[in-house]
């Protein structure tokens, strides 16, 4: 083959298949989601409500990760000192955990939305009321003896 048509062919192939950098992320995203899911919520033996909560949390995180692609700040549970700056390592959960291993006693915090917090409070209240009802029944049984 002559060199010029070959070069043209290669150039046209490269131009049509050019993949912008941002679309290389999805693989890491799913990796991070599954690891985060495990990190934040213990899957074994949870009821439907905590599954829904987990789903909401994942949606929230995906939205935030989308914002981070555009250069925003990552709102994952982290220490205030652990600001990720390296563009190559942004989406790596391993890097996050490496940063957070810097255990030099900073004030610790957690990132949650009010929506998630409200749902958690409601679940906890339901648990409390169920337990109190059960206790009341036991006390009445004891008193009746």
């Amino acid at each position: 083959m002559k060199p010029v048509p070959l070069v043209l062919l290669i150039t046209s192939v490269l131009l049509t298949t050019h993949i912008p950098l941002s679309t290389c992320r999805p693989r890491d995203l799913s990796l991070m989601n599954s690891q985060l899911d495990d990190v934040l919520l213990n899957r074994a033996g949870d009821d439907a409500m905590s599954y829904l909560v987990g789903e909401k949390l994942l949606q929230y995180l995906q939205r935030n990760l989308g914002a981070q692609k555009a250069g925003g700040v990552l709102h994952l549970p982290h220490f205030p000192t652990a600001q990720l700056r390296s563009p190559h390592e942004d989406n790596s959960l391993e890097e996050l955990t490496e940063f957070s291993k810097r255990n030099d006693d900073p004030p610790i915090s957690i990132d949650l939305t009010f929506h998630l917090l409200r749902n958690m409070i409601e679940m906890a209240r339901n648990e409390n009321q169920r337990e109190q009802a059960g206790l009341n029944r036991k006390y009445l049984d004891e008193a009746g003896k």
């Binding site: 549970p77 610790i108 957690i110 990132d111 917090l117 958690m120 209240r125 337990e131």
Partner: protein, 321 residues
């Protein structure tokens, strides 16, 4: 010792302990009073513990919220590096967390810390202005003080537990109890509707009641020590040592929230205000010279009301009406 003299001795002991005002009980089986029963009268340990079968137990999750008293265990099946458990009680409770058994590797970077309050996105409730302790004293680390001081008490109805476990198989168990607080100062409301009376009895402190919902607040009664209305300056209540302010914002920290209204004179009629923020706070500032009291009710703002407020309001900063 004969039966009657033993009974008389027990009666005497009961009367003596009854004078101290503490409750005791004796387990009498087969009309015999055991020596253990007698000795338990003399011990100062109050029998407030529930019998073993009544204690509520469950496993903790990495991200969890607990509102029920009981014993909670977390066992790591894989490394868990960023976990938090929120505790919340009724407004008039304070939280007591006791470490029952902790098997973690402190030197390997594991930790279990109790925080006196709630922290979200770096914002703390109660804020540093409203809490008696400085920030670093509000974190209590098991690895440092957990063995010598196994019981940690909060100053208000909320507390948090942060933990990190690297090894699978590490675990810890804590007992969560709620104790009565006669003058609750900082409160996070569990519900979007309710009522509360906050009393600050001649103490120089600031107290916040936080409702993490958009609500309409109706202040029924406000009694601030001074009766001199002339003290209120044109600039507002800040110059007065005792006042109540309504704050609204989208974070937990009351010092970063926007003032919606302030009141520094006593009144009796209801005054209401709608605050369309994610977090609505009624905060009372007290100089310590008087007994200050405020009673209020709150109810959740419906979706339609919020839409109406958005339509009416020209301001961007959390809707108010």
């Amino acid at each position: 010792m004969s039966g009657t003299s033993r009974a008389q001795l027990c009666f005497l002991l009961l009367s003596v302990t009854a004078l101290r005002g503490h409750a005791r009980f004796l387990d009498i089986q087969d009309n015999e009073i055991s020596p253990e029963g007698l000795l338990s009268l003399l011990s100062s340990e109050l029998k407030r513990e529930l019998p073993e079968e009544f204690v509520y137990r469950r496993a903790l999750r990495c991200l969890d919220m607990v509102a029920v008293e009981g014993q909670f265990t977390f066992t790591a099946v894989r490394p868990q590096l960023n976990c938090a458990v929120f505790f919340i009680g009724e407004p008039s409770d304070i939280i007591s967390i006791e470490y029952d058994s902790v098997t973690i590797d402190c030197r390997g970077g594991d930790f279990v810390k109790v925080f006196d309050g709630w922290v979200m996105k770096g914002e703390k409730f109660p804020s540093t202005q409203d809490h008696p302790l400085p920030l670093y004293e509000r974190y209590s680390d098991y690895c440092e003080t957990g063995v010598t001081r196994p019981i940690v008490r909060s100053s208000q109805n909320v507390a948090m537990l942060f933990f990190r476990l690297h090894q699978s198989g590490s675990s810890f168990t804590v007992t969560f109890r709620k104790l009565i607080n006669p003058f609750p100062c900082n409160v996070v409301s569990q519900t979007p509707e309710g009522s509360f009376t906050m009393i600050i009895p001649q103490q120089h402190r600031n107290c916040s009641f936080s409702i993490i919902y958009p609500v309409e607040i109706q202040i029924g009664e406000l009694s601030l020590g001074q009766h001199n209305d002339l003290k209120r300056s044109i600039l507002g209540c800040a110059s007065s040592g005792d006042f109540v302010e309504l704050l609204g914002g989208n974070g937990m920290d009351t010092s970063k929230m926007f003032p919606m209204a302030d009141l520094c004179y006593s009144f009796n009629g209801p005054a209401q205000m709608k605050v369309g923020c994610d977090n609505t706070v009624v905060r009372m500032v007290s100089s310590g010279k008087f007994v200050n009291r405020v009673s209020f009710q709150y109810r959740l703002l419906g979706h339609q009301e919020l839409q109406q407020m958005k339509g009416n309001s020209i301001e961007d900063v959390c809707l108010r009406a």
